[in-house]
């Protein structure tokens, strides 16, 4: 990472999909510090990367993870086990991250302009970027939609609820963002709707 605070690690293919055993969960519910630490050790990296990919700022992502785990101390009692623990935790991180995005002024009403200028200044040297750099060049909301849909597997219906918009809006933003990322669109804002 550019800030030097985060180290790149071997990608964990399962992340939030890891299973949390019932014993650890019950111990954590009772306030057992070791069990709580075990939960962090298992899901902390996934939580951090989800927030980081959307926010693009390590310190903000760490704040999100901290806040979510602090809320988890009491929130664990509310976990009924209807969904896997990882999915439940992922939703908590997503909610917190989107709340943070909402609090940022630049998140509002600048998507079209930002998307239209995406990649405009690129040259061959700048084209030598990786997926991370490309993602970070998207405006925040488009980045969030790409990450939540393409990486985390949320549907457009869920995205629409989170962002208070229609499914069409989510599909449109995603299509345009992916077009930019794929290098098929340069300096235009047109796009087609993608399916879930």
């Amino acid at each position: 990472m550019a800030d030097g605070n985060s180290q790149r690690v071997e990608s964990s293919p399962i992340g939030f999909a890891q299973i949390l055993d019932e014993v650890t969960l019950q111990r954590a519910r009772r306030g057992d510090a070791n069990a709580f630490a075990a939960i962090y050790d298992r899901y902390g990296v996934a939580c951090y990367n989800l927030a980081l990919r959307i926010l693009g700022e390590p310190s903000a992502a760490q704040d999100i993870v901290h806040d979510v785990f602090v809320r988890l101390i009491t929130g664990l009692r509310g976990f009924r086990g209807d969904a896997p623990f990882g999915a439940w935790l992922k939703r908590m991180v997503t909610n917190a991250t989107i709340d943070t995005l909402r609090g940022r002024q630049r998140f509002v009403d600048v998507e079209d302009e930002a998307l239209s200028t995406f990649g405009a200044a690129t040259d061959d040297a700048e084209d030598r970027v990786d997926a991370w750099s490309l993602l970070m060049r998207l405006p925040p909301r488009a980045r969030a939609i790409v990450v939540l849909h393409e990486v985390e597997g949320y549907t457009h219906r869920e995205l629409a609820e989170w962002f208070g918009q229609s499914e069409s809006y989510s599909k449109s933003i995603l299509a345009r963002a992916l077009a930019q990322l794929h290098g098929r669109v340069r300096g235009t804002v047109g796009g087609k709707d993608d399916d879930d």
Binding site: V9, G44, Y48, N49, Q62, A131, W132, G183
Partner: protein, 159 residues
């Protein structure tokens, strides 16, 4: 990870996004927050439990000391008020502007009442004595209204 193979972006591959480890200090920060919350939870629990225990103890003490006796105490108090009213009524019946006269029977009941109060007798006993006193006063009022006391007041003394 790299998107470029020939100087131009190919396709964005979300699965190629790198995974970063958070600052190790974050773990310590989170666990410290956990420990702090657990400690404050324990303190809240202890304070809450203490307050609950104290409240229960207070209620228990009140029930033991006041529960069964409260109605009787109220009865005794009401009888005492009634007794004062009967005294005044008797005084009027005697047509006397001075202090009311007291019969030996009333004096005996008053002595018993005084004794009961002195030794902290329960409300049931006190209430019974007040009832006896009121009964005696009613009898005196009735007799007085029939002109009998005037003829036979040798056993009476003024209060």
């Amino acid at each position: 990870m790299t998107m470029i193979e020939s100087g131009k972006p190919q396709r964005f591959d979300a699965s190629a996004l790198p995974t970063f480890a958070p600052d190790p200090a974050l773990r310590a920060r989170i666990l410290a927050s956990h420990a702090k919350q657990q400690q404050s939870r324990r303190v809240r629990f202890a304070v809450g439990s203490g307050a609950l225990a104290a409240s229960l103890a207070l209620v228990a003490v009140m029930l033991v000391h006041r529960g069964p006796t409260a109605p009787l105490a109220e009865t005794a108090s009401a009888a005492q008020v009634e007794s004062r009213g009967l005294e005044l009524e008797w005084q009027r019946a005697m047509h006397s502007g001075s202090a009311p006269v007291v019969t030996p029977r009333l004096r005996a009941i008053d002595a018993q009442l005084q004794s009961a109060y002195d030794r902290g007798a329960d409300a049931r006993e006190v209430s019974a004595l007040w009832a006896r006193r009121n009964a005696a006063l009613r009898q005196l009022i009735q007799v007085s209204s029939e002109g009998i006391v005037a003829a036979n007041d040798s056993g009476m003394t003024r209060l």
